[in-house]
Amino acid sequence: MGSLRDVLSPFTAWKHVIETPVTLKNPIGREAADRYRGFHQNDTEKCIGCGSCETICQNAAIDMVPVDDPKEGDSGLRPQIDYGRCCWCALCVDVCMTGSLTMSNEYTWVDTDPDAFRFIPGVDEKPWDAIAKGYQRPGERMLSGLTRPEMMEMEPEARIDNFDEIVAGYSREQAVLEADRCVECGLCVATCPVHMDIPDYIAAIREGDYDLGTQILYETNPFSEVCGRVCTHKCETVCAAQYEGEPIAIRWLKRHIIDNVSEERRLEIVGTPQVLPTGRKVAIVGAGPAGLTTAYDLARQGHAVTVYEAQDHAGGMMRYGIPEYRLPYDALDRDIAVIRAQGVEIKTGVRIGSDITLAQLKADNDAVVLGIGLHMGRSTRVPGSDAPGVEAAIDLLRRITAGEEVPVPKKVAVIGGGNVAMDIARSMARLQKQKYGAVGVTVTALEDFAHFLADKEEVTESIEEGIEILDARGPQEMVTFKSGKRKGEVKGLRTWKVISIFDDQGRFAPQYDEADEIVHEAEMVVEAIGQMADVSLLGDELTEALQWNRGRIAVDADGHTSEPWLWAGGDSVHGPDVIHAVADGHKLAASVSAMLAAKAEVAK
């Protein structure tokens, strides 16, 4: 041991004396790498305050603090980060639903005050706010799914000659996958008109607890079958998942719950009123969503409720306005059965105004609630619009539902770009297919596809079914036969091209190209541009006595009209929408019930 080499060799280290030092001249503030996970930045405009960052933070470093007033789809909260907790793992950045939260590559923060290390990125100004370098998510978020499972639907060929329901509903596997995507921020709850506990029932799906799910649904909405199919799902428009990827299919998940609970089980879960009858009587006009929801709530509080319906079946617009292939009648009946089970009496085929007067109802009951729908179609009133062969969409739909014979010509033109236009176009297409084996429906809408009123899937499905949809066409005239046997009858629709429909401010300001004129050949022209309520049942006296608000009955926040005994809600007051009508129903019931309780107090 110990050769001469072992003694001399270490001295070679002296060669480093003449090397350039590796020392950094000024190490303080040396720029970190481009990807460095430094201090947080938040684009507060983009941020929606969903709180996913707070949920995922394993250090409890993030608090959601109010920065702004909440509005739809934005809680107004913004993350405040405690650098006495943070570990710079960037899971908050990875999970961020909007991609607003990022990290700069700045890393130096020295302070004598330990409380200074709490700040709201993007709100409290920091020197690194404008630094572009730092950790950003490389692509879309990957800590939760981006896309919905595809909904099983009937193929166009299979569905076009019948009125069977198109959408199959999610399977358990699909529903769990979809429910899994929810981050439970609850932003949707405020937007839902009835404030359904959406995250909770989605959680119930994940857990496979459909009984609990049903219970949650019924806490806020007795029309889960209906809303699970045709809800306008405002909730999905504010869903945090939409910013990267698709919003959660909340509507389909609701339907999935109700699909998995039998009618009998549902009755067991919901039960019957658990209170003694109060002896108070309430009459409700119209067995639509608003009326029936009111009835459901009031009946569960022990009041005797009678619903009067002019048509032969309960359901209102849900039955007579929505085609069967979107909302099967038996699904609607299952919802109504639960409501009936609460002791609600529904008298169908009774038209208020002609069969019984409103005054009579007023006399017989403690309160009257108006929940009438928009059953009258608007006409364009262009030349020829009163010709034979011109029909109102809503009227046709009603007749189809009621099983009445409707004329089915080979060529039909529809005016309108809303869901009703699609409904009648697709219904007529089915009837044509049954009768002639071919579809001949043209839809002309004033709006262009960018401003279309109908749901996207409605348009897609209509086109799949062979319906021609022409956007941006302004109706000018119903062309009629000028002579011959069919003189005066409709033979077509003349339209102009609409170049643009709204101006820069989004005000209605259409511009036409008169050179682009088309005459759409049709033996029937269906007007589906809008609807209104038939308020003639009120009678002149009451019409005059009531307060009105731009054509609709004026009500206060609780749905109370200017007459102390009369409440009104639903489509005729707040415009057409099932879920809004349900929300109105709850409000009306609460208001009526409060009044009845006050009466009972006085009686004591």
């Binding site: 190490p27 303080i28 201090f39 250090n59 650098y83 907790r85 330990p114």
Partner: protein, 230 residues
Amino acid sequence: MKDIDKSFKKDTETDFPLREEMRPRKVTTPDGQVIDIDPLQDYFCQEPPKVHRKSYSAIVEGFYNWARANSLWILGFGTGCGAIEMRPLMTPRFDAYRYGIQWRPTPRQSNLLVISGYLSVKTLKRAIRAYEQMPQPKYVVGLGSCTINGGMYWDSYNTIKKLDEYLPVDLYIAGCMPRPEALLAGLMDLKKLIRKGEAEGANRYAENFDWYKANQKSVIKDWDMPDYSW
């Protein structure tokens, strides 16, 4: 994150008897006396340190502070993970020595204690002892989230959450863990504080000795360390 078990109460469990050496008992001392001891209650080193008075002359004090600021001698005691980022400072690349900063192996030669991250209760006991052994004037720098508010061990049963409950901290550096550059920036800031005469942690410790001791005792059981002179 799992929900907290609200029903949990510490120290109410009776199924787990204390270890033999932690129970109160009688002990015979080498000189034959029999004394009672209670390891969980007996504390030593109760003698408070003295407040380090400023010099009467502002010029002299200014000179002292200048000298102190330019000789930060750090105790080579890495209490937590952050210690690993101190090592590059000792090497040629970052070379903290050129700023008058160096590391010493014993507290008796150091005036700066860097608490490099979390402190387990067991280490807290040693850190306090090391700090108390350091001659005045002395400074404490808290490194990283853990010293500020518990950091990632905020729910650990074995680490303290707020360093300033137990030791007087002059300066904090954010990060988990702070890079050597940030640490160096912090030390430069500490120098400025010292020159301005604002790094008064040690005097705070002396003035509020009872408060600090009470806090220390609330978490450290079994304080079996001898008394020492300040």
